[in-house]
Subunit: 301 residues, 2 copies
Amino acid sequence: MKQLEKPLSNLLERVKGKAVKRIVVAAAEDKAVLLSLREAMKTGIIEPILVGNRGKIEAILAEINFSVGNTRIIDESNSSVSAEKAVDLIKKGEAEILMKGFVGTGPLLKAVLDKEKGLKKNGTLSHFALFDIPSYPKLLGITDAAMNISPDFNEKTEILLNAIDIMHRLGLEIPKVAIVSPVEVVNPKIESTVHAAMLSMMQKRGQIRGCLIDGPLALDNAISKEAAEHKGIHGEVAGDADLLLAPDLDAGNMLYKSLIFFAGGITAAIITGASVPIVLTSRSDSEESKFMSIVLAAALD
Amino acid sequence: MKQLEKPLSNLLERVKGKAVKRIVVAAAEDKAVLLSLREAMKTGIIEPILVGNRGKIEAILAEINFSVGNTRIIDESNSSVSAEKAVDLIKKGEAEILMKGFVGTGPLLKAVLDKEKGLKKNGTLSHFALFDIPSYPKLLGITDAAMNISPDFNEKTEILLNAIDIMHRLGLEIPKVAIVSPVEVVNPKIESTVHAAMLSMMQKRGQIRGCLIDGPLALDNAISKEAAEHKGIHGEVAGDADLLLAPDLDAGNMLYKSLIFFAGGITAAIITGASVPIVLTSRSDSEESKFMSIVLAAALD
């Protein structure tokens, strides 16, 4: 595959050829989460396990008219313990996706990051978003817009590798990666341009494989061939990026929200870097975005 | 005035009631710059003084069929000296706007910042952009998207004051200012949220006047009432910002370029904080944006 084709709902087609994925929800007594699960179950791509307060879960299921058949419900009223139990089910191989319900991000990640009982691999957990933007011709990955505040160079490299791994698992063999900065020139006073130069050369030297990297690129050079050529920047990545690595959380989040609220973008997002994808939607995400995030997690090879 | 109404071309109506502004161009032998001056002169709002290589200037004027009448052309082939001469003309009261031609930003700012002969006031020079975005109901100011890399708190305050001053001079008496961060809560690990909290309280205590400030606000909380209310954020600023202060250059530039390249935004921009507005367009700006930047500089009271 040469690029991830729009629309985002193509992910759903991709999932349909696969085995049903089991998704375990920590503190499932959350109406928005159960609504998005209901939509996902309709498509037949997932099979949930609900951990949480059974009484509350059943009340919401009745309220939203969601008949879960013989879905397992594991009764646990303490939300932190619920997160631990959900993680434990993954650890035992009983589910392939973790989803956050009515539990704080802190307690959930604490369970995920636990050295003995958790799901962490060696690297850094990070946020990966896949966008369908009306004004861009293909799907565009963005990382990290919601998790790592001010990653140092090693963390940034791990964030990048996490995202490349996701693109590979979506079938894109050689993603074109733009390392975004405010300018396209290396300026020792602007750390993001320094990191970008390092990552570009690491790809050229074979230290990072399975992708093409160019940077520093300003956002316009990354996504517009015309803007890139205006600056005399050529090559395969400039103007045609599949994945953008943001300088830090301030910048990544600004881009993420600008795309949704100003540019009409729709996104699917997961936390990656653990042994399984984690669906961690926020209250302010649209219904479609919550649903598509489950689909994204299920679409990974 | 309660808000700056769209479209951006309203600025032109505003200028038409004013005295013609004199604009001095440093190293005017620049085709794109002369084209935008030609458009601005057609509207009768400006009167240029061209400093630069006379031969080259006249060749371009002939090429683009731009008849400048009895416009002053001051022959100076050295572009740095040309910048100094342009600054000197401002200093002598012979022009009210400075514009960058075929001279590097470095030499131009060196002339502006010169302690004796320059145009600097006490504070910080900063970039101010005024956007017309299809998906936002009024004009939106953004600072700083192109000048200060990683401003400390005092510099950030000066950048903010510069932008508020511009909004006042455009006739908006009490701009609603959102200090943007990745999240809407104060988190000591995220410096932009700390700065935002300080600026918000400084406005409440009367240390900053002539505006309403709220922050930290994530971008969505700043420009969407619905998103703000989702987070339980009320008040006059949230969801209805006139001006956004970005955390730093990485984030400000990301927003700026996202608005232009993904959201169909049109912008007018100037450098502010000197004794006169400086028009410093970049090669990659659209024709309309270059023209509107001249109009913005001329529209200030």
